[in-house]
């Protein structure tokens, strides 16, 4: 494909893209494709000869797009959102064109310095002190693994990475997180070599927040048994219910033991840009590291995970790897972000964050997040006022956890689980909205996660209407 053809095809693609963004709300959020439906339509062997691009694009439109789950549909209330926005997409177009690999300053000076600048902008927006330094990782699961690895190294005076399982203390390290912590904490503990047997899942209170007294008991028991508390992972906005762990009390408990405190705010952290919500992040300045995902709730294309760390030396000591072929003339005076995480190769992710922050402005970002918070309270109010539904968790942020409970209590719990499972299927069957589930205190729970860039009151109202009519049909 030569440049002239690229220009023509790219202009045509832009028109498709703009149409898609305009009309995505008319599509089914979730495809009705069944497993194997897509694969069946694709050849099992690669083409030997070039195919005309028109055929490739036609297959994209006819086979791929109808088989997608549309994360940027305004009726998206599932999981947490993975948003994009027009300025973010524009930046991704430019990023793909430059095709830079941003492992070091030398290989992309502007990308490296822009990353430093925009991460510092983000730091200011969420109210973190300047003792924190930012780097863009791909996902919160990676960021949490980075924190766990750094904590592992710090707790063993950097001997685990050198001597492995035979290092002093290596076999005694323990990690703490609440029972509501994200699955990536369990996975990270496993991958980092702590062993899941050495992860203590701490009880939560009625609001699904970690109980600092229970954390203290667990740490004390481990210390008495000769173990070394290496890391506490606190969560601001748990995945199941948006629970918020009490950071000041957790830091109080962790500090005397020198345990690394990592705060997983993958979803909830974005609320830090709203001054009236910043209370949820109180104590964060005492943590060792913090992650939140602009790709979740700050209108920036996946992947873009903001990782902030105080002890940059410990981070570098954990991740730096040298090789003659990577040395550059400027290494002593610049930041090489390849040493700030797992991967050597890095995309130019700072550009989209820059485009988004400038195009929305801080006030524009706050306005969108505030509207999502308002919609969550609106939906919460409808559930609270209904005799047939109930709330299953507080609504601190933009996630509402609820279920049907017709006639207020006439059903056994097992029946309610089955009923709500069917209710969710019915709501989603409409294709107009998409919600997912969790379990809270063992109860099957519908999660209404409000945060898609273009969600407005009408989409939230649609869920409520669908929930009510589906319940009527089911009972």
């Amino acid at each position: 494909m030569d440049i002239d053809q690229f220009r023509r095809e790219a202009h045509a693609a832009v028109d498709w893209m703009a149409d898609y963004l305009r009309d995505v709300g008319e599509r089914r959020v979730v495809t009705d494709a069944k497993p194997g439906d897509i694969k069946r339509r694709l050849p099992a062997v690669p083409p030997e000869q070039p195919e005309p691009f028109a055929r490739v694009m036609a297959d994209f439109k006819e086979i791929i797009v109808p088989g997608m789950t549309h994360w940027n549909h305004p009726g998206w209330f599932a999981y947490f959102p993975a948003n994009n926005s027009p300025p973010s997409i524009l930046a991704e177009m430019l990023t793909a064109t430059l095709g830079a690999q941003c492992m070091s300053w030398q290989t992309s000076p502007a990308a490296t310095e822009l990353e430093q600048v925009v991460m510092d902008w983000l730091r200011q927006l969420v109210g973190l002190p300047s003792t924190f330094h930012g780097v863009i990782q791909d996902t919160a699961s990676t960021s949490t693994l980075v924190a766990l690895l750094t904590a592992r190294e710090r707790a063993t005076k950097f001997a685990f990475g050198r001597r492995g399982a035979g290092a002093d203390h290596a076999a005694q390290l323990t990690v703490y997180a609440s029972r509501e912590a994200h699955s990536s904490v369990v996975k990270g503990v496993k991958l980092a070599g702590y062993g899941t047997d050495n992860l203590r899942l701490i009880d939560t209170d009625a609001s699904f927040a970690m109980r600092p007294d229970a954390l203290a008991v667990a740490i004390d028991a481990d210390v008495r048994a000769g173990r070394v508390p290496a890391c506490v992972v606190a969560t601001v906005g748990t995945t199941s219910s948006a629970g918020v762990d009490p950071l000041p009390a957790i830091c109080d408990v962790a500090a005397p033991h020198g345990a690394w405190v990592h705060v997983d705010g993958a979803y909830g952290g974005s609320a830090g840009i709203i001054p009236e919500k910043r209370e949820l992040l109180r104590g964060l300045e005492r943590a060792d590291s913090f992650v939140f995902n602009p790709h979740k709730w700050l209108f920036t294309n996946f992947d873009c995970s903001a990782y902030f760390v105080r002890d940059v030396e410990a981070l570098l000591h954990t991740f730096q790897a040298s090789a003659e072929y990577l040395k550059t003339a400027h290494d002593a005076e610049v930041v090489n972000f390849r040493d700030w995480g797992i991967q050597l190769g890095r995309r130019f992710r700072a550009l989209k964050l820059w485009f988004v922050m400038r195009t929305y402005g801080a006030e524009g970002l706050r306005a969108r997040v505030r509207e999502h918070l308002r919609l969550a309270q609106l939906f919460r109010g409808w559930v609270a006022a209904s005799p047939d539904f109930e709330l299953l968790a507080p609504t601190h942020l933009s996630l509402v956890c609820f279920r049907a409970r017709p006639g207020n209590g006439a059903h056994a719990e097992a029946d309610l689980d089955a009923l709500n499972e069917r209710l969710l299927v019915e709501i989603n069957r409409s294709g107009r909205v998409y919600l997912t589930h969790t379990r809270l205190n063992g109860r099957y729970t519908l999660r209404m996660a409000i945060g898609q860039t273009n969600t407005d009151e009408a989409h939230v109202r649609t869920v409520w209407d669908l929930a009510q009519s589906a319940l009527e049909a089911l009972t």
Copy 2:
């Protein structure tokens, strides 16, 4: 930014993109920006109010682009390439627009099934048997870490992830790679918790390939000392010199010990699409895992790393993490790629690979790679025939390792190092081409890595002309 403005801005961006791709060869490959130059031009605080997009785009063009290292310049001979191509950029535009997060089948059915299909196409193209199953990772460093973690778990009967450093054998695990293996192996051994003390760097032969006899000696010594050889990392196309480890002999040595054999073909693996070069991958069918990067030498935007594994059960056992909120109705009948690696969240990377393979066709891809191989032999011939330069490694692939040695031997080694270091600076100072260095047998070595999508004979000739005239000026 509303949809109408997005459409206008995106059309304007496309014209900039096409112009950039057409003219990038006229730019300086490496910017003359100094550390801090970019940062100095960017505000230290984020904007409160939205800024006009025209100003954002103007800053991109005036501040960012001139401060970039241009990886897609046809004069790119540094490191290994990170290529893009018109169809790949088109796919990235569409991927950004869909904005899907492809952690599971349910969250992106078409993306998941397309990934299965294109990875099987790639498997066929490089001649891997169907016992291998593919997944797209972000980078080869991640893929190698995935292999090392899986090997760790298999060697401890999956006890390391559960019991940590206290598991049986955890403290005795050893890993093997050649002295020329990539820095990501050392980093992965550290992060996976083996400990770098337990990594044996095996001697290489005159062609910088691992010596299987030395591997056997090292493994035997460890086994006699009660250690457990968990993993051997072999390389097809080392970073310094494109050395190729002898896979059949390595598998012969590793097999009796049950060690996992991972093959790092990050750069070299792409040569597998050329039947006459497939000899370099002989024995690969006996390995446990294999990584190569279509983002290096297959014209697909970074990031796109192809990881192939035989024992999918061991992989899943290592990476699977369950959580109620991740369960879907289809889990029993589909592949959820989130369980095939470190990250939970995943971009839709299969689309660009599909666009590239179809738009070029297998023959088109082979033609480009063959041309790069031809150019490497051409450049190699010039060096070999010159009285003032010498080759420092065999040229199996498209990397030529050379240095100046005026008058064939009149200089001491230390003087030659200093001379070649200055020579590299001089060549790159032109801004027309970009080469980087390494050390081979302690000698400062210029690396001429030919593989940028649009590199042709004239660009290769330019390097040779610059090298000769720079040497003349320096001596």
